[in-house]
């Protein structure tokens, strides 16, 4: 165990604990499959992974600032995000999955600017950044306990409204980015093996879409169904 008496190490460590705890496993899985799906290689996955980490870091830093400065109350915000964050995320992931599966086509997005091409040229950086931000906002009991219950009090004590929460964010995202790069390396060699990048790309895209729909459906069952059925 690292020396958590150093606040920066403790903040990063709390982030790592969040990343490896079982509750964000579903969204981590979706993130790894999306970031790692790049057949363009590990370098693309690395940029996409770093964008994902940046998205998470940004959210935790902004929330940290608001909480440490006392602009919002931790109990209210924590329960609000735990409840509604996950309820929104389920349907959102299903929609994103159906988009990847080409079941829904958002042609209007490409209107006039060749959106699809632009989207591809960005190498998934913007979508990964957004995904990181959205996933960071969907708190589960463990991540809420570690962030609101341990990290924020530490940041308040150290008068570090941004740096420590940001280190926490980096800790929550790094393992996911690392796994994604490994997955991309594996896929790259698999793609070369089949000598058919177009076909490999299609298979990987469909697999990623299926993971998104699966994770989204699971979140719906877990977070929306109990509210409807009363527990």
């Amino acid at each position: 165990m690292p020396d958590i008496s150093i606040p920066a190490v403790a903040a990063f460590w709390l982030g790592l604990l969040t990343a490896i705890s079982p509750c964000p496993l579903a969204t981590n899985l979706a993130a790894v499959s999306y970031i790692g799906k790049s057949l363009a290689g590990a370098k693309t996955a690395l940029w996409s992974g770093l964008a994902y980490v940046a998205g998470r870091t940004l959210v935790y830093a902004v929330l940290g600032f608001l909480l440490v400065k006392g602009l919002v109350s931790a109990p209210g915000l924590s329960f609000f995000l735990q409840k509604y964050g996950n309820q929104i995320l389920g349907p959102l992931l299903i929609a994103a999955g159906l988009f990847l599966l080409r079941v829904i086509k958002l042609d209007f997005l490409s209107f006039g600017v060749g959106g699809e091409g632009k989207f591809k040229n960005s190498k998934g950086i913007i979508p990964s950044l957004l995904m990181g931000a959205v996933f960071a906002l969907s708190f589960c009991p463990v991540s809420a306990a570690l962030y609101f219950g341990a990290l924020v009090p530490l940041a308040a004590k150290e008068s570090s409204a941004v740096i420590l929460p940001a280190l926490f964010g980096i800790g929550t995202g790094l393992p996911v980015a690392a796994f994604a790069v490994i997955a991309a390396l594996g896929l790259q060699s698999a793609g070369q093996f089949y000598h058919n990048m177009a076909k490999a790309e299609r298979i990987v895209r469909i697999a990623t879409g299926a993971v998104f729909v699966g994770v989204g459906a699971w979140l719906c069952v877990k977070y929306i169904l109990p509210v409807i059925t009363g527990g």
Partner: protein
């Protein structure tokens, strides 16, 4: 005193474990010198009637709160916020919760 376990509608494996261990810790006081002094309650804070507990106890997640009583009035409560770190070992978890219950019961 009351040993509260607070949860929401969505339940997770770790949360059920916390509830089960905490209940076990509280019920271990049913006999012995503290018999009849420790009650356990698991409450859903997402239900309207229980929402006030979030503000009362400054809750940020599923957690265990000890609410002692002094002369029939509620005393200073304690949030056992280390439960998430002690969850790896059932023995350690039980020791942690029981120690704090005893500390509260012995407090003057």
């Amino acid at each position: 005193m009351t040993v509260y376990y607070f949860h929401g509608y969505a339940r997770c494996a770790s949360c059920r474990k916390i509830e089960q261990y905490t209940k076990e810790a509280a019920e271990s006081f049913a006999a012995g010198q503290y018999a009849g002094r420790v009650a356990f309650a698991a409450l859903n804070v997402e239900e309207k009637a229980n929402e006030h507990f979030v503000k009362d106890y400054q809750l940020v997640s599923k957690t265990v709160v000890l609410q002692p009583e002094k002369d029939g009035k509620p005393g200073a409560w304690e949030n056992l916020d280390r439960i998430w770190f002690e969850l790896g070992s059932k023995d350690k978890f039980l020791v942690y919760v029981k120690e704090h219950i005893v500390k509260q019961l012995e407090a003057k």
